[in-house]
C-alpha cells in the first residue's frame, strides 16, 4: 500500500508536490518524510547511480524514478508488489510531465505544483488494493520489467554521501599536505645548494 508520495526537482531538491493526507495512518510519518527529504538532498548533489531504485527502510520500501531531472518517490509496505509501485510512479510521471512539464525548470517556490496532489490522491486510490482486476493485469504484464532495479538499504544510500564527503575531505587534506611538502622540499634544496 502506498504510504507517501513526493515529487521533487533534483537539481536543487526543491519539493514540487506531495500527496494529500499522506501518512494519516502512519505513526512515524514525520520520520520517513525526513528520510525522503534527505534522499532528495543527496540526489541533488548528483549522487545517484541509477534512475530507478528501491531502498528499504524499516518495514517499508522507498521506490523512486528519476526522469528529466524530476524525482518521483513513493513509500510502500514491504509486501507491496514492486511492479505495481513502479507502475504507479510511471503514471504520476506521465501525468506530471504532461501538465507541468514546461514549468518545472522555472518553479521558484516550494510546492509550486501542489495542485497536482488531487491527481496523486486519485491515482493512489487506484493502486491501494493489489487484487483488483486492473492491478492484477498490471502485475501479469510482462512488458514492464522491474527485476533489474536494484535494492539498497537506506543507511547505505544516505551513508554514501557521508563517505564521499569523508573521502573528498581526506583528499583535499592530502593535496594541501603535498603542497606543503613540495614547498619544504624546495626550501631544503635551495639551502643545500
Amino acid at each position: 500500500m502506498v504510504k507517501l508520495t513526493m515529487i521533487a526537482r533534483i537539481t536543487d531538491g526543491l519539493p514540487l508536490a506531495e500527496g494529500l493526507d499522506d501518512g494519516r495512518d502512519l505513526k512515524d510519518a514525520d520520520f520517513y518524510k525526513q528520510q525522503a527529504k534527505l534522499l532528495f538532498k543527496n540526489l541533488s548533489k548528483g549522487q545517484h547511480e541509477s534512475s530507478r531504485l528501491s531502498i528499504e527502510t524499516g518495514p517499508y520500501y522507498f521506490h523512486y524514478i528519476i526522469e528529466s531531472r524530476v524525482c518521483y518517490l513513493t513509500m510502500c509496505d514491504r509486501s507491496y508488489p514492486k511492479k505495481l509501485a513502479f507502475q504507479y510512479l510511471e503514471d504520476l510521471k506521465n501525468e506530471f510531465e504532461r501538465v507541468n512539464g514546461n514549468q518545472i525548470e522555472t518553479a521558484a517556490r516550494p510546492y509550486a505544483f501542489i495542485k497536482f496532489d488531487t491527481f496523486i490522491q486519485k491515482t493512489r486510490k487506484l493502486y491501494l488494493d493489489t487484487r483488483t482486476q486492473r492491478n492484477l493485469a498490471k502485475l501479469n504484464d510482462e512488458l514492464y520489467e522491474v527485476h533489474q532495479i536494484m535494492t539498497r538499504n537506506v543507511q547505505e544510500v544516505l551513508g554514501v554521501g557521508e563517505k564521499l564527503d569523508q573521502v573528498s575531505q581526506m583528499s583535499s587534506r592530502l593535496t594541501s599536505d603535498t603542497r606543503m611538502y613540495a614547498d619544504k622540499a624546495k626550501d631544503l634544496n635551495r639551502q643545500e645548494s
Partner: protein, 982 residues
C-alpha cells in the same frame, strides 16, 4: 440617573400596592401583562422609540391620557415605540430582537446608566453648576403645580406608577409620560430644557423630572464649542445634569425604605448600580469636574451648549494618514495603528497617559483596488532576517561596510548580507537597488516562504459543515437557507481545484455522509454511539469538491427534505464536534457549526443557566458570561493544534449559551454569528449574506502571527480570537480580512534611549492557492518626552478598539457596572490630565478642554457603554446577545467597530421621493440625536450587522404604502406580536 430613579422610586414610594396596580391598568401593552417583567423586554425594542415617542405625546395628550389611554402607553411604553416601527421590513425582526441600534442611538436608558447616570460621567461632563438648577427648579414647581398640587406624596405617586415600571427600563417614558402632564406648560418647551428642571429639590420632582434629564442630556455627550484646535468640551448638558443628580439622592434618602417594588422593578436595579456614589478616586475627580462649567453664565437660562455644534463622527473612522507623511516607509495605517503614534520616553509619561498604550493590527486588511501587496522571492538567498531577533529585512534596516553588512533596526545587530543579495551603496549609504526592491522601500511586503517555513505541504482550503437538524432547525427554515446558500457558493469557494468539502448532520445521533465521487447520491450513515464516536468510513467524508461536485449538490438539494419530518429535539453537539475533529484532523480548515438548540446530549452538554436577575450587581454576575464546560475550550485547543478554525452560527430562539459555544471560535480564530429567534423568512437574507461572505472572503490558512518591537518596549497582552502559543506567537488556524487583533504595550526600561521605536508584524500563512507566504508590516514611531505630543498623535479609532476589547474581557470577570465605570474613569483621567497641561495657557478657567485628536472619544466611550455587550443589566440585553456582541467586538477592525457602536443613520424618504436619476448616490450621515429624527421621515440605521428602518409617525401614507405594501390604517398592530417573539 435614570436607572437609579427607577429603582429608588418604587421603593421610595409608599405605594407598593399601588404601583403594580397602576402599571397593570395603565400601560396595557407593556406593563399590563407582567407589570415589570414585560416592561423590560419591551423596553429594549422600544429603546429607540422611546425617545421619539415623546414628541408625539407633547402634541396631544396630557398626562392622564398617557397613563390611561392607549396612546399614553404608547408614547411612554415600548409598544408605542413599536408602533413607530411597525411595518418594518425583515431586518426589523432581527432588529427588534437585537437592540443594538437603540442603545447607542438614543437616550435609551441602559446606556444612559453608564454615562448620564454614572456619577463619574456626570462629574466630568455634568459640571453643571447649581445655578442652572435654579432656573429650572423655579420653573418646575409651577408646572407641577397643577398636578403636583396634590399632596406631595401623591404627586410623586402619580408619576411614579407610570415611571416605576418603565422608569427603570424606559427613560424616555419617564420624562414624557409622567412629566408631560405636570409640565403641561412646558410641553412646548424645547425638550432639552424640560427634563432637567424638575429634578431639583423635591421628592416629587425626582420622579418626573429626573427622568427627563437623562434622556435629553445624553445626546450631547460631547459638546463642542467651536474651537479650532482644542474644542471645549462642555460635557453634556451639564446644567441639567448635575441638578438631577443631587435631587435624586435626596429623594432617596428621604424616602422611607419601602418594601415595594415588584420584583421586576428591582430587576433593573442591579443594572444601574452606577448611580451609587463614585468610588474614592473617582469622587475627587468628579468633584474637580463639577467645578467646571459649560454654560457661559451660570444661573442663566442659557444652556450654554449648542447641541448641534458638538463634534460628531459622521465620517466614521479617521485613519491616521498623517503618520505616513512623517514616516513614508511605514506600512499603511489600515494594517497597523498605534493608540498614539508615539512612544513615551519614560515610565512617568506612561503613567500620565491614562488611555491604553497599544496597537491594533489588521494583517489582511483589504487594500483598495489597484493596490497590491508586492511579493518578494529571495530564492536561494533565503529570507533575509536578523540573526538575533529574527526581524525580517525592511526599509528601516541600514547597510554598512560597503553593503556587506546590514544593521537590524530593531535590535541593532550587524548582520552579514548573503552574497546573492549583495548590492553596492551610494554616497548616502543607501543601496542602489533600494527602489527596485519592495522589501527595502515598502512598509508592507509578502515573502515567498521557503521549505523551512513549512511543516507540511500547503494544505488545501477545506470546509466542513456541522449542521444541527433537530426539530427547531427544521421548523425555522434554517436547513433550507443554509443548503441554498452553500450551493450558491460552491463555485466561489476558495482554493479551486483543491477545495475539500464535507458535511455532518446531527440531532440525537450523528449522520455521516459519504460523498465518494463514484456515487450518484450521497450515502448517509448514522452513528448512535455518542460516548465513543467513530468514523463509519475511512475516506470520502471530506472530499474534493471538483471530483464529487454532483454528489455534494444532490446532498444540498435534498437536505431540507431529508429531515423535514424530524421531530427530534435533542442535540449532540459535543460528540459531533469530536467526529468533525476526526474527519478534519489531518488536513485542518474551517469548521462551520450551525446550532439551533442548546447542546443536550453527550459530552459538552450544557444546561439552562438561568439568567438570574439577582446575580446582576453581585460578584457572580460575570459567571454567566464565561464558558460553563471546559470541554469547549479543550476542544478548541485541539482544533487549533490541527489547524481547524471554528465559526459558530447560533440560530436559537431560546438560550443556547453562546458564552460556552463561543469559546470554540475564540481560541481558533473563528467568529460567532448570532441570530436571536431565527426565522428563515425574517433572517434568511442576513444569514445568507453572512454565510456567503464567510465562505468566499479571502482567507489565510494555517497561519501564525508575531509582532516584534524594538528595544525598550514589549507587547504584554493580546486581545482577539486566537490561541497564544509560547509567549508572543498567535496561532490562527484561519484568518481573514474581517479580523483584527489588539495588543497592549509596556515599557521595559524606565527611560528610552532611542529616538525611534520600530514594530514589525509578521504573518506566516498558506494562501488559498496553496502558496506559503510571510506578510510583513513594518512601522516606526518616534519616542517623545512631551505628553502634549502624545495627545496630538492619539488615534481615536485604535484607542476605542483597544478599550472596547479590554472592556469586553473585563466583563468576563467583573460586573458590567464596574466595567463601564473603568471606561469612564480612563476617559475622565485622560481629559483631566490634558486639562492640566493646557488650562493655564488657554486661560479657560472653568472650562473643560479636550484635544482635537480625541474629540470623538467621549462620544465613542458613551456609545461603547451603550453597546449591546456592555449596556445596562439583566433586562436590557439577553445574555446570548450580549455575549455574541462581545465576541464581535473582539474581532472587529477599528472602522467597523466604530460603526457598530455608533451606527450610521440616514434619512431615506427624501431620497426615495426623488427621481431615480436625480439621486447622487451619497446619503448624508446624520448624528444620532433625537433632534435629527423627524416624525415625518423614514430613516435607516446601519450598524454593520443589522439594518433598522425607522418609520416616522407622520410619514406620508403613500410612501408607507409603497414601501410596505400596507396602508397604515389597516396595518395590523405587530408590536405586541413581535414583542412576544422577542
Amino acid at each position: 440617573m435614570r436607572p437609579s430613579a427607577g429603582n429608588e422610586r418604587p421603593p421610595g414610594r409608599p405605594v407598593s400596592g399601588f404601583v403594580p396596580g397602576f402599571a397593570a391598568g395603565a400601560p396595557p401593552p407593556a406593563a399590563g401583562a407582567s407589570p415589570f417583567g414585560a416592561a423590560a423586554p419591551l423596553a429594549r425594542p422600544g429603546g429607540p422609540a422611546g425617545p421619539f415617542a415623546p414628541p408625539t405625546q407633547q402634541q396631544g395628550p396630557p398626562v392622564a391620557q398617557a397613563a390611561a389611554s392607549p396612546r399614553g402607553p404608547f408614547g411612554a411604553a415600548p409598544p408605542a415605540a413599536m408602533g413607530g416601527y411597525r411595518g418594518p421590513p425583515p431586518p426589523q425582526g432581527s432588529f427588534g430582537a437585537g437592540p443594538p441600534p437603540p442603545g447607542p442611538f438614543s437616550a435609551a436608558p441602559p446606556p444612559q446608566g453608564p454615562f448620564g447616570m454614572a456619577p463619574p460621567a456626570q462629574g466630568p461632563f455634568g459640571a453643571a453648576p447649581p445655578p442652572s438648577q435654579g432656573p429650572f427648579g423655579a420653573t418646575t414647581p409651577p408646572s407641577q403645580g397643577p398636578i403636583g398640587a396634590a399632596p406631595p406624596p401623591q404627586g410623586p405617586f402619580s408619576a411614579t406608577p407610570t415611571q416605576g415600571p418603565f422608569g427603570a427600563t424606559r427613560p424616555p417614558q419617564g420624562p414624557f409620560g409622567a412629566v408631560p402632564s405636570s409640565q403641561g406648560p412646558f410641553g412646548t418647551a424645547p425638550p432639552p430644557f424640560r427634563p432637567p428642571p424638575s429634578a431639583l429639590l423635591q421628592p416629587q420632582s425626582p420622579t418626573g423630572n429626573t427622568m427627563p434629564s437623562p434622556t435629553y442630556v445624553r445626546p450631547p455627550p460631547v459638546q463642542s464649542q467651536p474651537q479650532p484646535v482644542q474644542g471645549y468640551y462642555p460635557g453634556g448638558p451639564n446644567p441639567q445634569f448635575p441638578p438631577s443628580r443631587p435631587s435624586f439622592q435626596q429623594p432617596m434618602q428621604n424616602m422611607p425604605p419601602p418594601s415595594m417594588g415588584p420584583p421586576s422593578s428591582y430587576s433593573n436595579q442591579p443594572a444601574y448600580p452606577t448611580t451609587g456614589p463614585p468610588m474614592g478616586t473617582l469622587q475627587t475627580l468628579v468633584e474637580d469636574f463639577q467645578s467646571l462649567s459649560v454654560s457661559s453664565a451660570p444661573g442663566s437660562l442659557d444652556p450654554g451648549v449648542d447641541v448641534n455644534g458638538l463634534p460628531r463622527p459622521l465620517y466614521g473612522d479617521e485613519e491616521p494618514a498623517k503618520v505616513l507623511e512623517a514616516f513614508p516607509l511605514n506600512c499603511h495605517p489600515r494594517y497597523f495603528r498605534l493608540t498614539t503614534h508615539t512612544i513615551p520616553a519614560s515610565q512617568s509619561l506612561v503613567s500620565r497617559w491614562h488611555l491604553p498604550l497599544g496597537a491594533v493590527v489588521h494583517p489582511l486588511a483589504e487594500a483598495p483596488d489597484g493596490e497590491e501587496v508586492p511579493v518578494v522571492n529571495f530564492g536561494s538567498a533565503g529570507v533575509i532576517r536578523c540573526r538575533r531577533c529574527r526581524t525580517y529585512i525592511n526599509p528601516y534596516a541600514t547597510f554598512a561596510d560597503a553593503g556587506r553588512k546590514w544593521r537590524c533596526n530593531l535590535c541593532t545587530l550587524l548582520n552579514d548580507v548573503p552574497g546573492e543579495y549583495f548590492c553596492a551603496l551610494d554616497a548616502s549609504g543607501r543601496r542602489f537597488d533600494a527602489d527596485q526592491r519592495p522589501e527595502l522601500s515598502k512598509g508592507t511586503v509578502e515573502f515567498v516562504a521557503p521549505t523551512e517555513y513549512m511543516v507540511r505541504p500547503p494544505m488545501p482550503p477545506s470546509y466542513f459543515f456541522l449542521i444541527d437538524v433537530s426539530v427547531s432547525a427544521v421548523r425555522s427554515g434554517l436547513l433550507e437557507v443554509v443548503a441554498k446558500t452553500i450551493k450558491s457558493c460552491l463555485d466561489d469557494l476558495l482554493g479551486f481545484p483543491r477545495t475539500q468539502i464535507g458535511f455532518l448532520t446531527f440531532d440525537s445521533t450523528l449522520h455521516f455522509h459519504n460523498f465518494k465521487s463514484s456515487l450518484s447520491q450521497p450515502q448517509m450513515m448514522v452513528v448512535a454511539d455518542l460516548d465513543d464516536v467513530f468514523l463509519p468510513l475511512p475516506d470520502d467524508l471530506l472530499v474534493n469538491l471538483v471530483d464529487s461536485r454532483h454528489v455534494v449538490e444532490s446532498f444540498l438539494d435534498n437536505l431540507p427534505n431529508m429531515f423535514q419530518d424530524n421531530v427530534n429535539v435533542e442535540s449532540a453537539l459535543g460528540p459531533a464536534l469530536k467526529a468533525a475533529f476526526m474527519v478534519m484532523g489531518q488536513i485542518g480548515g474551517k469548521l462551520l457549526v450551525f446550532q439551533s438548540t442548546l447542546p443536550s446530549l453527550g459530552i459538552g452538554r450544557l444546561r439552562l443557566r438561568g439568567d438570574d436577575v439577582r446575580a446582576y450587581g453581585t460578584d457572580k454576575e460575570h459567571i454567566l458570561r464565561i464558558p460553563e464546560d471546559p470541554f469547549y475550550k479543550q476542544m478548541a485547543a485541539e482544533f487549533t493544534k490541527n489547524q481547524i478554525a471554528v465559526d459558530i452560527f447560533s440560530l436559537s430562539d431560546k438560550y443556547c449559551d453562546i458564552a460556552s459555544l463561543g469559546s470554540l471560535a475564540k481560541y481558533t480564530g473563528g467568529q460567532v454569528y448570532h441570530y436571536p429567534s431565527f426565522q428563515a423568512t425574517t433572517h434568511g437574507e442576513k444569514l445568507k449574506h453572512e454565510l456567503s461572505r464567510d465562505l468566499t472572503r479571502e482567507t489565510a490558512w494555517e497561519s501564525v502571527m508575531r509582532i516584534r518591537c524594538g528595544k525598550g518596549v514589549r507587547f504584554t497582552t493580546y486581545h482577539g480570537h486566537f490561541m497564544l502559543r509560547s509567549t508572543d506567537l498567535l496561532a490562527l488556524p484561519a484568518v481573514d480580512s474581517d479580523k483584527a487583533f489588539a495588543m497592549q504595550l509596556s515599557l521595559e526600561e524606565t527611560l528610552m534611549t532611542t529616538q525611534t521605536v520600530y514594530f514589525q508584524v509578521a504573518l506566516l500563512y498558506t494562501s488559498s492557492s496553496g502558496e506559503r507566504r510571510i506578510r510583513v508590516h513594518t512601522a516606526a514611531a518616534p519616542v517623545v518626552t512631551d505628553l502634549g505630543e502624545m495627545y496630538r498623535q492619539a488615534d481615536t479609532g485604535a484607542i476605542v478598539s483597544v478599550l472596547a476589547r479590554i472592556a469586553v474581557e473585563n466583563s468576563l470577570s467583573d460586573k458590567l457596572d464596574s466595567v463601564r465605570q473603568q471606561l469612564q474613569l480612563k476617559l475622565v483621567k485622560s481629559l483631566k490630565e490634558y486639562r492640566n497641561l493646557y488650562v493655564v495657557q488657554h486661560r479657560i478657567g472653568g472650562r473643560l478642554i479636550y484635544p482635537e485628536s480625541l474629540r470623538y472619544l467621549p462620544l465613542y466611550i458613551l456609545a461603547l457603554c451603550k453597546s449591546l455587550a456592555l449596556r445596562g443589566g439583566y433586562a436590557d440585553v439577553s445574555l446570548d446577545e450580549r455575549c455574541a456582541a462581545g465576541f464581535s467586538i473582539m474581532i472587529l477592525p477599528a472602522r467597523r467597530l466604530l460603526n457598530f457602536i455608533y451606527p450610521s443613520l440616514y434619512r431615506l424618504d427624501e431620497v426615495l421621493t426623488v427621481e431615480p436619476d436625480m439621486i447622487d448616490g451619497a446619503l448624508k450621515r446624520l448624528p444620532l440625536t433625537l433632534q435629527c429624527l423627524d416624525t415625518a421621515g423614514l430613516y435607516l440605521l446601519d450598524d454593520g450587522f443589522t439594518f433598522l428602518v425607522w418609520l416616522g409617525r407622520m410619514l406620508q401614507p403613500e410612501l408607507m404604502n409603497d414601501i410596505l405594501g400596507v396602508s397604515l390604517s389597516n396595518f395590523p398592530d405587530l408590536s405586541k406580536d413581535s414583542v412576544e417573539r422577542m
